[in-house]
Amino acid sequence: MYNLLVIIFAKILNVFANILCKILHKDNGNMLGKIVKKLSPDILKSIKIDCPVIAVTATNGKTTTNNAIRYMLEKNGKKIVSNKEGNNMETGIITTLIKNCTLTGKIKADFVTFEVDESYVPIIFKKIPLNTLVVLNFFRDQLDRNGEVESLILKINEFLKTYEGNLILNNDDPNVARLGRANENNKNVYYFSVDRYKYAKDYQTEAGEGKFCPFDKTKLEYEYYQYSHIGKYKCPKCGYGKEILFTEIKDIDLENKTFKESDKNYETLANNIYSVYNYAAVISVAKLYGLDAIEALKTFKLDNGRAEDVKVKDCETIINLAKNPTGANVSLRTLNEDKDEKELLFVLNDNSADGHDVSWIWDINFDVKNVTRIITSGTRAYDMAIRIKTSGFDIDKIEAYLDLKEAVNSLYKTKTKKYVIANYTALQPIRREIFNERT
């Protein structure tokens, strides 16, 4: 009864909050969830969800994959409730559900899809039923905030020991595929994999985690690395690395943005390998529920700083979020695969949400090709400049500005194609500066 009153109160609060936010032009984010959680810490248990809940977790690619799954389901005529803005901790999930439930706390939809922060998976899904969990990857990420990757994986593994729902796993990440063995009784484990792509390497060129077999600590042998530690591996001792595949992506052509799965041809708008992995997860979800992903992936557009492609003063500008070494490495990989001459702007902040520790930039492989100038900006612009200089890039072609506006002004002094990489709190401010430049 109390929880029902909390829901009604929250719904009324939401109406006022929305009006206030419209007036102030602000996004209320997780506020609602924060208040509701204070009033009733277990409110999630009181929300009635009768449709399947699909959740995506990973270090990188949560927002994109969740939005692509939502888009795919909508293209199939389904009604969806989703945390599409990326508020992925408990308060964010509460906010999404309160906003979309009836006054009696019911969710009326065909599917609920969530992106969920890795460490919140066990917390949230103790309280709400989960039909399908998708796990994409685990990379080192803001270690001063999140701790070691291994402890994060163990938390999810512990949760999965008693989970019997669908589990969609990236077979090419040894730290993800291992989760399929958490519960031997779960017969609903589905693996996806992506075939070797053109720029895969025989040796590791980027920082990664999957060095040892999670079962017997033997060094894993890799046939190739797609990026970071994602690739084809095998444990020479126990044979780990050979799961039966549910989804197998083949014939990856990044220039034409096409690939194949089970003899079906897919066209997409994304030209990078990590998007192909995200889409492999989307296709797996579609297959599992007997739906089609071909039409959806044809028109699913990346935006909001996820390989976002915009024109500014006649200059093609590609903006990409990178919160950790792998995020930055895959962005630079795309830059290097692009044969045009280009300039790079790298924005690095060290606010609380970014992690105060910027050591991770030394795990970035800065071997850049056809780059004529690099500008650094953000609160740690100088750290970034030192990093780039030490990699051997000509010091006279590096400029550092603490101020974003100065950085963007300088960036558009030339007509060369631009790549912009920004970390978490830097992304929206730099996008605003870039879009200001456009008008």
Binding site: E150, S359, Y382, T390
Partner: protein, 246 residues
């Protein structure tokens, strides 16, 4: 052409926070001055290295799991390492390696992980796993002839005791223990510290101290290092020192 040889220990296991950055900085600053740096890597399964044949030995920090795997391997080389320390080979030891070179590491459950016992200090894990010394840190460091402020980042649960000659006085941050006034361990040829990741990147004076030390030891003559363009480093330091020591 002058040349130095560096031994990089367990690069595939002790590489959590971009510690390799230190080697990159050394290499960069040497190359600019026409000095070559040879980097040999050693990890489990490789042929045993002779520590005394190197000018610098570098080891970083790793995840708990990796660290327990390699400590049993490293102990095999204890005598050779002690000899190298005695012969004044330079050792730069970061975080987990700093701990490993001490007497022991006492875990949360009271379990003792034996160290190399090269130095007399020991480390005790902080009982509350969630409590760690995490954050920016600034030290006042005296390197014999040179004084400098060292800027870095610490992230450790272990509390290290019985240090007779610390690396620096803490001006901002924690140090060897929560709220300590001292950080790390220092002897002319040893720097062992919790300042992880690319410690040398923001501290060119420290980087040059190591280079000079190794060159003078090897070539047995006073060597003046050419000044480099450190504009970014200077600006970075100015900004951080202003922010942290206000």
């Amino acid at each position: 052409m002058k040349e130095l040889k560096l031994l990089y220990l367990y690069p595939d296991m002790l590489e959590l926070y971009g510690d390799y950055g230190n080697i990159q900085v050394l290499k960069y600053r040497m190359k600019k001055r026409g000095i070559n740096l040879i980097v040999d890597r050693y990890t489990i399964g490789d042929k045993a290295p002779d520590f005394t044949s190197y000018d610098i030995v570098f080891a970083g920090g790793g995840a708990d799991n990796e660290q327990s795997i390699l400590s049993t391997d490293l102990i095999k080389y204890r005598d050779n390492i002690k000899e190298a320390v005695k012969e004044k080979v330079f050792f730069l030891l970061i975080c987990g390696s700093y701990q490993l070179f001490g007497k022991y590491y006492k875990g949360v459950e009271g379990n003792i992980i034996p160290g190399l016992e090269v130095f007399d200090y020991y480390t005790v894990a902080q009982p509350d796993r969630k409590k760690r010394c995490i954050g920016n840190i600034v030290l006042d460091v005296n390197l014999g002839d040179t004084e400098t402020k060292v800027i870095g980042f610490e992230n450790h649960g272990g509390q290290t005791f019985d240090i007779d000659s610390p690396f620096g006085k803490v001006l901002y941050g924690n140090g060897n223990k929560f709220g300590d006034s001292e950080e790390g361990f220092f002897k002319e040829n040893i720097i062992a510290t919790y300042l992880h990741g690319p410690l040398l990147s923001k501290n060119p004076v420290l980087a040059d101290y190591i280079i000079s030390y190794c060159l003078e030891r090897k070539y047995n003559e006073k060597i003046g290092l050419e000044k480099l363009d450190d504009t970014f480093e200077e600006k970075c330091r100015e900004q951080l020192l202003k922010e942290l020591l206000k």
